[in-house]
């Protein structure tokens, strides 16, 4: 498994394990920023994305040869959103206790609108307008 480096402080890195779904930001000037950058071996945080020149935001599955990417065409009035929803559930009173799930979420808000795409653990997709 490829290990990516994340520098929280200069000269000291921690290892970032690849996610099942990763983001890629493509800019209007033809450059890009990828959460897991194969060319540099670096991990990037979402806040590093320059939304001022963002053209499109892509969510790509680790098995990109099997699962097509999802693309959000960006508009200047949009504020980009990306986060993971993590849930821990306890079956209280049972001997089976905890279950954890992770949902990959992204979308935008602006102009009084908000739209979130939720990628569920089985990779089915929910689109939620708020």
């Amino acid at each position: 498994m490829t290990v990516y480096k994340f520098y929280r402080e200069p000269g000291k890195y921690i290892e970032a394990k690849p996610e099942r779904w990763r983001w890629e930001a493509y800019y209007t000037d033809g450059t890009s920023l990828k959460q897991f950058d194969d060319s540099t071996g670096l991990y990037h945080q979402f806040r590093e994305i320059d939304q001022g020149k963002l053209d499109r935001f892509v969510m790509r599955h680790e098995k990109s040869y099997l699962v097509p990417p999802i693309t959000l065409k960006f508009k200047p009035w949009m504020k980009l959103i990306h986060y993971y929803e993590n849930t821990v559930s306890y079956s209280v009173g049972m001997d089976i206790q905890t279950k954890g799930t992770k949902v990959y979420c992204f979308g935008y808000e602006g102009n009084g609108n908000k739209m979130i795409v939720r990628i569920l653990p089985d990779d089915t997709i929910e689109v939620e307008a708020k």
Binding site: Y83, E85, N86, Y90
Partner: protein, 170 residues
């Protein structure tokens, strides 16, 4: 790797801390974490379980930036008869609670009926009682006191699901 966020339970006068993320949240007639089964420390009819005081804890923020929008709720499928699950978790008018040794008396802090579906927004706060607060490395949410109050007509304990959810910005 993503952030390591745990659910931590507090017990005793001296506040012993137990990471119950991979444990359990069984209610019982004693002030203990990880009560091993429903047959251990059963709650009798017309009595209360000991309060549970739990929190989210960011054990290691790792490569992520922060967590936010913390929620707790319960499934509707499991409480027996007129049993009620009380909690302090609310989407409005939130005020943080200071830890106190768990009690089996009627809780004076877990005074809301627990939400029976996922809340729209955060109902657990961080910082000084802020529902919009974010948590970073090593930080805890505010306390979430929970108490099961068993009805006089209940003959045998039920089972149900309590869920804790947070958003992680990576």
């Amino acid at each position: 790797m993503a952030a390591d966020v745990n659910i931590v339970e507090s017990n005793g006068a001296g506040e012993d801390l137990t990471d119950i993320t991979s444990g359990n949240l069984n209610m019982g007639s004693g002030d203990y974490a990880n009560i091993t089964s429903s047959a251990t420390l059963p709650i009798t009819a017309d009595a209360n379980g000991y309060e549970k005081w739990v929190r989210f804890k960011v054990e290691d923020i790792s490569t992520s930036d922060h967590i936010k929008t913390m929620k707790v709720w319960m499934s509707t499928d499991g409480l027996t008869g007129s049993d009620v699950m009380m909690i302090y978790a609310t989407e409005s008018g939130y005020a943080s609670k200071a830890y106190a040794q768990p009690t089996a008396d009627d809780s004076t802090v877990a005074t809301y009926f627990i939400a029976e579906s996922e809340p729209t927004g955060a109902n657990v706060a961080g910082g000084a009682g802020s529902l919009t607060a974010t948590l970073g490395d090593g930080e805890y949410s505010n306390y979430i006191p929970i108490q099961l109050q068993v009805d006089a007509g209940t003959a045998e304990g039920g089972s149900f699901t309590i869920s804790f959810k947070y958003e992680e910005v990576a």
